[in-house]
């Protein structure tokens, strides 16, 4: 099996994640969409790495996985803080900076 099916799968998952990020109103829902997109990027990295026999892609996947975990922990901490201050999760209610 060639490289192309893997890339198509990853592009599909990325697009679904993009859809989630753009349409979700809940902040935690937006974060879930970002996780999906990161996941698709990881599939891409590993697939390219395997089909070019270069191990760098897999090492970068380890790095992106760790960075994503950090990002999720920080993002959710910010969400919890936002709850305390504004008592809402909906992204369209968080319009303090809107002119």
């Amino acid at each position: 099996m060639g490289l192309q099916p893997y890339l198509l799968l990853s592009a599909t998952v990325f697009s679904i994640g993009l859809f989630g990020v753009m349409t979700r109103r809940n902040t935690i829902g937006i974060l879930l969409g970002i996780e999906l997109m990161m996941n698709a990027v990881n599939i891409n990295l590993v697939a390219f790495s395997r089909y070019t026999a270069a191990v760098s892609g897999m090492i970068f996947t380890v790095f992106t996985i760790c960075i994503t975990v950090t990002e999720a922990a920080l993002g959710l901490a910010i969400v919890i803080l936002l709850f305390r201050v504004r008592r809402t999760v909906m992204a369209d209610h968080l319009d303090l900076l809107k002119g």
């Binding site: 890339l7 994640g17 993009l18 859809f19 996780e35 089909y51 008592r87």
Partner: protein
Amino acid sequence: MTEQIAFAALSVTLVGSALAVVLSKNLFHAVLWLALALTGTAGVFLLLDAEFLAAVQLLLYAGGIITIVVFAIVVTERLIGERLTQTNMRIGGGALVSAVFLGFIVVVLGKHALPASRPEMPGDLTRVIGETVLTRYVLPFELLAVLMLAGMLGAIYFARPED
């Protein structure tokens, strides 16, 4: 032949659970679907001969992130005292942008010749990854440790009890 069957099954699981993540009304269900999607990705990694990455994916992603998100949902639900349902808005525009993006990638992929078969990997992959991380990529590896420490401190600072 088995590879095609496994890939087809994993693709259906992955795309289906990803759609459920972005479309389900209940936030908690969305997180459970995300767990399935992340596990499916670990399966794709196994298909690509990356056993070590599949293990990392299951431990860090499926284990770590799902736990954190579930904790966040439990904490915030108690804070506002109502069920976290979630709705989507501007579905048409979002679907259009995603479809255009996907179409663009499909067109670009169709125009380029991609490798159709896999070259042999140099020896035991897990061993090669370990050796390369601690030799050529040792600086990014250490920076990653600093980043995770900073992230951990930041998360603790943000989520500290109110005084």
